[in-house]
Amino acid sequence: MDFLNLLARLADLDTPTLPAAAPRRTALSQLGKAGTALLPALLTGLALPAAAAAAAPQDTRTRLDALRLALQLELLENEFYSRALGLVTGFSAVPFSATEKTALQTIQRHEAQHVTLFQRLITDAGSALEPAARYDFTGSKNGTQPALYPDIQTNPDTFLQVAQLLEDAGVRAYKGQVEFLQTDAYMLEAALRTHSTEARHASHIRTMRRQRGASVKSWVSPADASITTPGSGAAKVYEGEDNATQYVNIGTILTKVPFDSTLPINVGTPALTAAQILAKVAEAFDEPVNAITATALLQLFTY
């Protein structure tokens, strides 16, 4: 998926003063063509050191970059649920109850619809679709490294754990991309409506896990029992989600929202401790991840 990083770098070449009045189709088509023309020149840079990739500016992504990341995410999720439902040759269905299966069918249908949507948005704009990735949801990268989730195709609890990781990560990834779609009302609204659909999925997967005995809320909470190993790739799904500090411009001054001091948010009886109320603040705000983190998470399950 270094191609995404390449696209992020190509975005630097995109003129930010792209005529606002130009039809979207034309504008995106130009982006696509520019990318193709410049590809050979940048191929040598494909093997970007991780540090350089991390340093790539995040405020220069194009709409095409954002749409392609969304499509990659949806393709992966669609394949993930399709395998669990026994819809993919070579993969037997994960044993779920009838009620659970119905829910997963609903989610899979949405992911397939999202795939269609983002493919249309990309191709309507005159841009090409990238080749499909290859997936290994055990995390073994096709047997080239120890599996992270060896029983994912047979153990419903393992499957739902990874489903929660993917849905929560998806919500964060969309949140990180909406700003790059702000110049196009249609794309922005489509992405926001996909974003909240994914949040509903995430909430339901969490409810399913709780019903099976896991200690987890339907919203991301510092109180959730951890399902990742500190420092692991999967742990990035929740890094920063415990954030209880928000900033907003008051006039032109970026100002910290005083959740920890003056805002009257501790309204329960008895009142919560300072740590408890800040945990509620963390629950009340879902945090974004940038494209680099989102891509790294997708790479856990692709090879």
Binding site: A21, A103, K175, E179, Y186, A190, T197, S203, V257, P258
Partner: protein, 239 residues
Amino acid sequence: MADLADTSFLGRALRRRTFLRVAGTTAASSALVLAGCGKDSTPTPTNSTSSLNFAGSDNGLLNLAYLLEQLEAAFYQKVVDAFPSDFTAADKAAFVDLRDHEVIHREFLKFALGSNAYDVALTTPLAFNFTAFTLTTRAGVYAAARTLEDVGVGAYNGMGRRIASTQYLQLLAKLASVEARHAAFVRDQAEPNSFAASDVITTSGSLAGLDTVKTPAEVATLIASLVPVVLNTDALMLL
């Protein structure tokens, strides 16, 4: 099919951009007005003839979000103050969380709005009317929560294209997905597996798989019976 949709949306996008360029310079100072329509020159917020006029600006949108969060916070507080007798311990814990989240959202938006908050000069806050809901039974409470949360999700999804500030867009998205998590949770409690049912997720056509979206005017209509003033979102509809 796609062509038609694209063309019309492009038109809206351009219109929004053009309008904001003008509105940005003039609307910033035009705070939301709570205008009394009666003879009394002092606005009386509990008077049903009063109206809330939302300015056609980011402040107007934020005020609509603020009103929605006030409404949700007041609703959950009312439930927490007198739980239905058939509420389980898990229900109670969830509703305390929901109340806390909405209070946090409310206070966050109030802080962000500062002196632009519509009710900054009101001596008594708006008193919301929840009599249309049955709050004495678990089923009634979850049905009411479902209505409010789905309106919230649709409202935030509809604000995105109208917001000019990228910072506000990012912040509202942080709230929107939490509201969607709430919505899915209360829907599942009201009816198992209804977290993303066909009444909220588009089932067919080019926008299949997408969550509910409501314009400010649609939001105003949906919450009209709960709010003791007339909501005028005309200016928001021009964004």
